[in-house]
Symmetry: C2
Subunit: 670 residues, 2 copies
């Protein structure tokens, strides 16, 4: 993979980036003061708190998401509980299958996620192999005159054992890594054994992988018998409410529900910062659609021409990661994407990414391989964003067929279906059974109901066969498990089997579900990487070029002096911005203006208003744009008007620069 | 208590109100399809999902809260995890004390909350007493000509045993009920025994009360040893981040943090609908203030003159519920409210209630009695809203002193304090101990550190006494638990105790915390009761007069016909409203216009736009206001302009009626 570059063209460096996020409290490990406390044994890994700018950015992403999806498409938003009784997740399959494979260190008791363990060890061996072959050395520049770089290089080589591998082994490792997500527990165990994979921390052997369910378990109510789980996704709450939603939607199809809320996964060993966490914010859509008629979408033409970057299943199967750029319309018509509704949502996800400021060169949609998908899924694509940790799955968009509604319906006995009058009545030729109930009751007494149910349950094929027997022998024998003898004899006087035409005026079907599912925290983090850069030649002056739409705060007001005249000016400005609905902050600290702007570049604040000594005289103020650092000077009315149109997106900074006079007075370095 | 009335002056009736909320899916019991499923043993009580209008109303309440508190006061918003390691709640006291008293039915195994059990039984007995005394009968009107009322009356009498009580016993019951919140487990057990209180469901005896901790317990990470809880409040996450928040705030005081998020309480036996639930949304502020100087607030003058309805501690102690109406300023200056900051927030809470449309006649602030508060709390007031369930605590506003920061600091060893340069250096006369470390080390070897720590830990009083002994005897004996002998002799050569003046330039203090804590679900429900009424004489035509600011949807667009000409008109209107940021819905169903407006009255949509046949000709539309049902007719531009100013609150409907022509064309009953 080529080195990751920032928007200014420089190489992305995670060290100053992480330092910036920490310094500005975008997020922070939860309960950090406890982690170092003596005697503290709690596990706080994979738990993060969002600080003020992170919280505001997250709220703005959620708000944009709600407008882009829920309001734009009149989706029915739900807020369902996180606490969920066990039975619901038994039905959905989570109790049995929502697990990762886990190995225990045979000596120190560490728990390791089996696939990550193999991945780490094989990657390290490949690195050692490269070093041994001199490739790593050749790639590094001469460090003889740079002690720090030489030290770093030495450390890099120290981290891995420099051992040359057989060509065949190296190739096998590469192949295993490429499909590491697809092994089950036995296969992972076999790999561990075959390659003598040990815990890198201490080099102990590990025990064979066992499944570890990722749901947090608790007990609901005072009786310990009522097991509950924290939901690992918001979807089930939407499915179990399907009937009420359909009714709320006045029984019209298609429609979508949506939920924004926390979900929980008890990761075995969380790493990679906030990309893999135990508590996270999700936003999910469940779009319910008629399975017949090709899952068309009536707004498809709106997005037909949008170009997407696709990595399809066939390409991956051929061992390649080569992308295809094609319009959604082409992709659906050529069956790269399964259907219109799925294609529609991929395009809407693409537009959402654009709106929030994701780097378009760092987006792709990757199709799931057949063995990656649940057996019921018809098709599935991940919206992936490129970060310094590689391509990160930020959105999943799956066609889940009728699976979810079917299993909940079966378990609860509640019909989760759509009933629609047919335009043309449907005529069905079928075998029907007529039972003479007056005779059935007296003959079977308390077993009559079981007998009747067994008869009703006969398939068309069975009915056809029994009809022949009945005509031939005058009676039939039917298996009835409930009866003492296990079966019953029924004669012509009791039942008749006849072929008739049934006319069906109502069509009944279980809708299919297209599910775009967003990990807000992963989008949040990837976006921050995409918008991060630093002023040319000065790594200490970081900038987060977050678009005004989602920026934590839109405007910073900077008074040049702390005297009372300035304060009243600032108060008036602040009140006017509040009325305009523009979130803003005031920095009246004694730091230099350059320092104050630098701080806000790091916070991603797109605009700065300076109140200087001239402001008090002529009521003009200056407006600074974060990315270009250019300023204009105009009346308060003109500047606030420009801010409104910049924030709501009706004008760009380049437009404003053309119509309002540029200001070259202050220097950032003051 | 007088009967509750609606805004139209009629009696509030919970039956049609509940039916409306259910019909319009404001909220619904979670997992309802499972509750009736065969074999389902899950406990889903106290869990509710919010449907589309409930979700939107909740989001708008949260948005208004964020603007009113967080943005208005530049609070530092945090989003902390719900999952919390056990140690944090051990420190805060929740593991030991966050419990309710629970009784088990001796036969059927039901669990009952002890105070609620006593309350229910004593209330029923008092009701039976009243019936026996003929009071209930006298209060009921003659029902001889109304079979339904007569039946209801009979049922009411059937529910309770009609038994006359001794006057003294009735009085004792009243007194117990008045202080039912204040008994501990032993006292509750004694009451149950004394009055032979049994489970009303089956009349079985109950076992003595045991404490039941209300926190949901789980295990974090793969090792089952790491216990975690779901937070029962958002506060602790804010306290443990105090140091980072202070730094983010550039080390200036006072400041406030805020959090909006779910919290969890494992209620023993939830009842009263969404007022007592196991998963709920909270919004909490932690305002950190200097304990010295009377906890002044620099914006106090903004709210000094606001009148509050207060029920203070002294009034309650005298057995009365008589309210006092006084300005915040008066209340603080006369020490009814402890300090300015607490008073400031009570006023801000009052303004928030006003803003969202709470009925001002159904608000009061009730002060906690001394025995209701935690031992460390300085003062506490509940913002209560009157509902058909009585006065409901919707906001708690407590002065928690320095308790929380102190305990976390003590447990973790992290200094959670503010350090400020003193304007005037502080000169402190004190006894200081000088140790000759060159001699101490060789003498005590590995115990030297323990000896030194014991010396440093000596109080001023001890030092003064030891100074005299040292002068007199030339040596002192100090208790040192770590040493084999348990003490050490120290002579003049080793230590000197001298009185000196220390100059302190830095002041260090632990801030006090004022904590306004909002139960969003309770406010949500109480508000709905307050805004509910029905059209005169027609209980089937309910209206929710939710103010435009928080209404789930602001505008309903109703096309009179489903022909294509109307559709394109509606599409254009919809796009314009979207650009204006006005949430709206379209109802193009075939229902009559009256039915469609009725439906939206129930959803609380304040405005309706009708597109009729004239609209297609002259581009005018009509605008209907929900509460008055009056309409105006004007151009699209004028109507949309009016909608914007109505929604953002810059104009009232009465203003619009004056300046735009009223329309009397359509009838609601069409």
């Amino acid at each position: 993979m080529a080195a990751l570059t920032t928007r200014s063209g420089g190489a992305f460096d995670r060290v100053p980036f992480d330092a910036l996020l920490k310094r500005r409290l975008f997020f922070t490990p939860s309960f950090e003061i406890y982690r170092t406390a003596s005697g503290f044994a709690g596990d706080t890994k994979g738990l993060f708190d969002y600080g003020p700018p992170g919280c505001a950015l997250q709220a703005n992403l959620v708000d944009t998401w709600r407008k882009h999806f829920v309001l734009e498409e009149n989706m029915l938003e739900l807020d369902c509980t996180v606490l969920t009784p066990e039975d619901v997740f038994k039905t959905s399959g989570h109790v049995d299958k929502f697990s990762d494979w886990m190995c225990k260190d045979s000596k120190n008791g560490d728990y390791l996620r089996a696939d990550h363990l193999i991945e780490n060890v094989l990657e390290a061996r490949l690195k050692g192999d490269k070093a041994a072959r001199g490739i790593a050395a050749a790639e590094e520049k001469d460090t003889s005159n740079d002690p720090a770089a030489a030290k770093k290089k030495k450390r890099a080589v120290k981290d891995v054992k420099v051992v040359k591998l057989d060509d065949a082994v190296a190739k096998e490792f590469e192949e295993i890594l490429a499909r590491i997500d697809n092994y089950d527990g036995l296969e992972l165990g076999a790999l561990i054994k075959k390659f003598d994979i040990r815990n890198p921390d201490g080099n102990n052997e590990v025990l064979p992988p066992v499944p570890f369910n990722l749901m947090f378990k608790t007990s609901i109510g005072p009786s310990s018998g009522s097991i509950g789980y924290l939901r690992p996704e918001t979807a089930q709450g939407q499915f179990v409410n399907f009937k009420k939603l359909l009714e709320f939607n006045q029984n019209t199809m298609p429609f979508a529900s949506a939920s924004i809320g926390k979900s929980y996964r008890n990761e075995i060993s969380p790493r990679t910062g906030i990309l893999r966490v135990r508590e996270f914010l999700m936003a999910e859509v469940e779009h319910f659609v008629d399975p017949e008629g090709g899952k068309k979408h009536d707004r498809f033409e709106d997005i037909d021409k949008i170009e997407l970057v696709l990595l399809d299943r066939h390409t991956q199967l051929a061992g390649s990661t080569e992308i295809k750029v094609m319009t959604v319309g082409e992709a659906v018509r050529s069956h790269v994407i399964d259907n219109e509704t799925l294609g529609y949502f991929l395009a809407r996800i693409h537009l959402f990414f654009q709106k929030i400021g994701v780097d378009p060169k760092k987006v792709r949609f990757r199709q799931h391989m057949a063995n990656e998908m649940a057996h019921y899924a018809a098709d599935c694509w991940d919206g992936e964003l490129l970060t310094s940790y590689g391509w990160i799955e930020c959105v999943g968009c799956a066609d889940r067929s009728a699976y979810d509604l079917s299993v909940h319906s079966k378990r609860t006995g509640e019909a989760l279906v759509v009933r629609e009058p047919r335009e043309e009545p449907l005529r069905i030729e079928e075998w029907q059974v007529d039972i003479d109930k007056k005779k059935l009751g007296p003959k079977f007494r308390k077993n009559a109901k079981a007998v009747e149910e067994a008869i009703e349950a006969l398939s068309q094929e069975q009915r056809e066969r029994f009809e022949q027997t009945l005509n031939k022998d005058g009676a039939i024998n039917i298996d009835i498990p409930g009866l003492p003898e296990g079966k019953a004899e029924l004669d012509k006087a009791l039942i008749q089997i006849v072929r008739r035409t049934r006319v069906e005026n109502i069509r009944e079907y279980t809708p299919n579900v297209i599910e775009p599912s967003f990990g807000i925290g992963r989008i949040f983090y990837s976006l921050l990487e995409h918008v991060y850069w630093h002023r040319p030649g000065d790594v200490a002056r970081g900038v987060l070029s977050i678009p005004p739409l989602v920026a934590p705060s839109k405007v910073l007001i900077v008074p040049l002096s702390r005297s009372p005249g300035f304060a009243s000016h600032v108060k008036k400005l602040s009140a006017r911005l509040r009325t305009l609905g523009i979130s803003h902050t005031v920095d009246d600290s004694s730091a230099s203006i350059g320092k104050r702007y630098s701080r806000n570049d790091e916070l991603g604040t797109p605009f700065g208003i300076t109140v200087d000594f001239d402001s008090l005289k002529d009521d003009t103020i200056t407006l600074r744009e974060r990315d270009s650092m250019k300023q204009i000077r105009a009346s308060v009315d003109d500047v606030l008007g420009a801010v409104v149109s910049l924030v709501n997106g009706s004008e760009l900074w380049t437009d404003v620069l053309k119509r309002l006079p540029e200001f070259l007075g202050q220097s950032e370095d003051e």
